[in-house]
Amino acid sequence: MTSLKGFFRGKTAIQPIWIFVIAIFIFFSFMSEYFLSLSNITNILVQTSTIGLLALGMTYVMINGNIDLSVGATLGLAASLVVGIQPLGLTVAVLAALAAGIVIGAINGLIVWKTGVNAFIVTLGAMIGVRGLIFLYTQEQSFYATNFAFADFGASTIGPIPVLAIIFLLCTLVMHLVLTRTGHGRNTFAVGGNPEASIDAGIRLGRHMMINFIIVGFFAALAGVLLASQMGAATPNLGRDYELWTITAVVLGGTKLTGGYGSITGTLGGVLAIGILRNGMNMMQVPAFYVLVILGAILISVLIIDKKLNAPSTKEVRI
C-alpha cells in the first residue's frame, strides 16, 4: 500500500476533503488579507461548531446505516428550553435541555429499532413533531437569556481561543477515539456494513442503534445550548434546515449514506470546508445567495468525482 492508491485508501489514507479544505484555505488567504488572521480562524471554528456538533452525531448514525432528520428541531427545542428554564437555575436548565435531546434520540432509536421502519421516515416525523413541541412550549415567542453568566459563556475565551471552539474540538477528538478504538465504534461499522452478519455474530443491533440515536440527540441538544448562549436568545424557528447542512457536511466528509463507511476526521473536513467557504466568500463580499449555489455544485461534484474514482468501469456491467 505504498502506491498512489494507498494515498486515498487504507488506514493511513489522506481524505480528499482535506485536500479541498487546504486548497480553499490557501485560496482565500490570497484573496483576502483579513482571512488569515487568528481572530478570523477562531471565528470560523466558532461558526462551524454548531453544524460541527450536529455532524459528529450524524456521522455515527449514518455509519450505522441510519439518518436523522430531526437534529435541527432537537437543537431548537434544547435552545428554547435552556433559555426558558433559566429562572429555575442555570444548571437545571442545561441539564433539562440535554435530557430533552437524549429523550428525543431515544424515542427515534426505539422506533427505528422496534419497528424496523426506515430511519428517514421516523426522523422526518420527529422533525415535524418536535418543531410542534417547540412552538407549544414557547407559544411562538422568542426567549431572551436573563442569566448573564450564560450569555457570557458563549463569548468567553481561554487564552486567545473561544471556549465554543475548544468544546467542539474536544468533542471531535473524543468521538474520533470512540469510533476507531472502542467496541461500540467498531460494531457501529459492522451493523451499518452488514446488519445480517452482525446479528449472526451476536452483535446487539438495537442497542447500538439506540446508543447512536441518543448520541446524535445529545449532540443536537449540546449544539442548541451553545448556540443559545452564543446568541443570548432562542427563537422557535432556530435550527431550521440545519439537518440539510449537517448531512451535506457529513457526505462531503466521505461518509456513505448506505452505512458501514465513514470517519470523524472526514466529517471535520466537511464541516470546515463549508465553514471556510462561507467565511471566505463573506470576506470577498460575495452575496450569501451564491454560497448556496456553490455548495450545491460542490456536493454534486464530489458525488461525480467519487463515482469516477471508484467506478471499476470496465469490470462492471453498464446499466
Binding site: F189, A197, A201, G260
Partner: protein, 520 residues
C-alpha cells in the same frame, strides 16, 4: 476437476459416538410443516453430507441447529448434553458453526475485525485490544495457510478468500461441528482443493462436518455418509462407499433420474450469431465463435473465465474495444440491452434474483416484462392479453404457483427460473442465451428445463448455453466452446469430445497461459 475422479476416493464410515445428535426435530411455520420429526447425527472426524431438493428442509434444519430458528419439537444433543440454542452466537460458543451460502462479511472492515465480529477482544473501557486481535488472527490465518493479511479490507478479497475468512471465523471458538452450506457454489475449480484440504484437516482434529451441496461429485469425493431429506421428512442415511449416485438421486426425488443424452437437435440452418474477434478491455480478448439456427452451443469454462461477460457484451451491456457481433447476417454491436431485445436476443442471466426477476412483482407482470409492446396497444396494457401470455407459458412449463397474483419472491428456485425463461420465450427471440440455467435449482426442474431447451432448438431457435457443469454441457450441446482466462481455447463436437479434453481446455493445461488477458 474431473467429476468421475470423485468416485474413486470414497471413505468408509467412521465408527464413533456422535458428537451431535438431532432427534425428532419438528419445525412448523404457519400453514406448513417445514421439518417433520427429522433425525440426524454427526460423528467426530466425519463428513456427513446432507442432500435434498430445494425446499426439502435442509436450510431450515441447519438454521435450527445453528440457533437461528427454534424447533417446535425435538432435541439437540451435543456431546451427550441436551442443548437449547437461543441465537447463533450461543450455538457458536457451544461449538456449532454455520458457514453461510451467502457471505456474511462486512466488506469495509479488515480481515481481523471480520473474523472476530461480535467478539472483539477488549481492554478496560470497552476499548478494542488491537494487539491481541492481530496475534489471534495471525494464529488462525496460519493454520488455514491463508495468503492474505490480517489488515486487508475484506471487500478487496476474491470470493474464495472471503470464504476462507468465513471459515477462519468458525475457528475462533474451537468448533465441534461445522456446517458448510453449498460452500463451492461460487468457487472456481482451482480454489476447491484448498477448501477440501481445510475440511480434511478439520476432520483430522476430530471436528464433525455437515456438508450441504447439490454436486454429486463433491459429495462422493468428500463424505463418509450421506443423509437425504425429502419434503421435510428424513428418508434415510447411507454409507458413501456402499451407495451410488442413482440410489441417492432416487432417495431425493423418489425416482431414478435418467439424463437423456441422445435427444439433441440435429438439423441446423444458417448462422444466427457470429462473434468476430470480440474483446472487452481487461475481461476477455479475441473471442470468435458462431451459433447456427436450431443448434445448441455450450460455452464451458470456470467461473471468471469471461463467459457471462461475453453474453453480456452480445446483449449490449458491455462495451467492446474491438470485434463485431453479427446477428442473422447483420453487424449489430448493440449499445443497450433494449436494442438487443428488439433485435431478437434473449438473455436468461446468471443471477436469477438480482438480474432476472423483480421479486416484489407478481408472476404475470414478470412474465410480460420483456415484451410489454406485444401486450399493450397505444401504450396501454391489455389485461386479457397479459393473462393469455401468462397462462400459455405457465401451462407449457408446468410452473407451480398459487395464481398469477403470487409475488415471484415466494416461489421456489426452479419455478422462478421457469418464469425468467417464459419471459424470454414470450419475446420470440432468434437467439436464446442461457447463463447457468439450472444453478441452484432442484433435480426435477433441472430435467424439465433441459428438455425444454432441446425442444426449443429443434423448433429453430439458436441457443447458447453457458454452464460450469460438465454433465449439463455434454448433455445439451451440439458444439462446445471452451474458455479459459478470457480466451476461447478450443471448440469441440458435443457428441465426441472426451471429458479429459474438455478439462484440459478450460484449465489452460498444455497451452501457454495467455498473458495479454489479465483478469482479476
Amino acid at each position: 476437476m474431473n467429476p468421475s475422479q470423485g468416485n474413486a476416493v470414497q471413505r468408509p464410515p467412521i465408527d464413533a459416538e456422535p458428537v451431535l445428535r438431532l432427534a425428532g426435530i419438528t419445525k412448523r411455520f404457519p400453514g406448513v410443516v417445514a421439518l417433520n420429526s427429522v433425525d440426524f447425527d454427526v460423528r467426530p472426524g466425519e463428513v456427513h453430507a446432507l442432500l435434498g431438493e430445494n425446499g426439502a428442509g435442509k436450510s431450515t434444519l441447519m438454521k435450527v441447529l445453528a440457533g437461528k430458528h427454534k424447533a417446535n419439537e425435538g432435541k439437540i444433543i451435543l456431546g451427550g448434553e441436551e442443548m437449547e440454542f437461543e441465537n447463533p452466537k450461543h450455538a457458536k460458543r457451544a461449538g456449532v458453526v454455520l458457514i453461510h451460502q451467502e457471505q456474511s462479511l462486512v466488506p469495509e472492515m479488515t480481515v481481523a475485525e471480520n473474523i472476530f465480529l461480535g467478539s472483539l477482544p477488549k481492554k478496560w473501557g470497552n476499548r478494542v485490544d488491537w494487539r491481541k486481535l492481530r496475534e489471534d488472527t495471525n494464529k488462525i490465518l496460519e493454520t488455514l495457510k491463508c495468503s492474505f493479511q490480517h489488515d486487508d479490507l475484506v471487500g478487496s478479497l476474491s470470493i474464495a478468500k472471503k470464504q476462507m475468512v468465513e471459515i477462519a471465523r468458525a475457528l475462533v471458538f474451537t468448533p465441534r461441528v461445522v456446517v458448510f452450506d453449498e460452500p463451492t457454489a461460487s468457487l472456481t475449480d482451482h480454489e476447491k482443493p484448498v477448501l477440501y484440504d481445510v475440511i480434511h484437516s478439520l476432520c483430522d482434529q476430530g471436528v464433525g462436518i455437515v456438508y450441504i451441496s447439490h454436486r454429486m461429485d463433491e459429495i462422493f469425493h468428500l463424505s463418509h455418509r450421506i443423509s437425504v431429506l425429502r419434503d421435510g421428512e428424513y428418508t434415510g442415511t447411507v454409507n458413501t462407499c456402499a451407495t451410488s449416485e442413482d440410489e441417492v438421486t432416487r432417495m431425493m426425488i423418489g425416482r431414478s433420474l435418467e439424463l437423456d443424452h441422445a435427444s439433441k437437435p440435429s438439423e441446423f440452418g444458417d448462422n444466427m450469431l457470429e462473434i468476430r474477434n470480440l474483446s472487452v478491455k481487461r475481461v476477455f480478448e479475441d473471442v470468435s465463435f458462431n451459433v447456427r439456427k436450431g443448434e445448441i452451443v455450450g460455452m464451458y469454462g470456470l467461473v471468471g473465465a469471461g463467459r457471462s461477460e461475453v453474453a453480456e457484451t452480445i446483449f449490449g451491456l458491455r462495451t467492446p474495444v474491438a470485434g463485431d457481433v453479427v446477428l442473422d447476417g447483420e453487424v449489430v454491436n448493440f449499445r443497450h440491452s433494449h436494442d438487443a431485445v428488439a433485435a431478437g436476443i434473449a438473455l436468461v442471466p446468471e443471477d436469477r434474483k438480482d438480474q432476472g426477476l423483480i421479486l416484489g412483482m407478481n408472476c404475470r407482470d414478470n412474465m410480460t416484462l420483456a415484451g410489454l409492446g406485444t401486450v399493450s396497444s397505444m401504450g396501454f396494457m391489455k389485461g386479457s392479453a397479459e393473462r393469455t401470455v401468462y397462462d400459455k407459458y405457465q401451462q407449457a412449463m408446468k410452473i407451480k404457483t398459487p395464481g398469477w397474483r403470487q409475488k415471484v419472491g415466494n416461489l421456489s428456485g426452479g419455478n422462478q427460473q421457469k418464469i425468467v425463461i417464459g419471459k424470454w420465450l414470450h419475446t420470440h427471440p432468434k437467439l436464446l442465451i442461457l447463463d447457468e440455467p439450472t444453478r441452484g435449482i432442484d433435480v426435477g426442474s433441472k430435467a424439465e428445463i433441459h428438455a425444454l431447451v432441446k425442444d426449443l432448438a429443434k423448433s429453430g431457435y439458436a441457443v447458447l448455453v453457458i454452464s460450469s457443469e460438465m454433465p449439463e454441457v455434454l448433455g445439451l450441446s451440439n458444439r462446445i466452446i471452451a474458455m479459459y482466462d478470457g480466451r476461447v481455447t478450443a471448440e469441440f463436437d458435443g457428441d465426441s469430445v472426451s471429458e479429459d479434453e474438455l478439462v484440459q481446455a478450460i484449465t489452460g493445461m498444455g497451452k501457454p497461459s495467455p498473458t495479454a488477458a489479465v483478469t482479476g
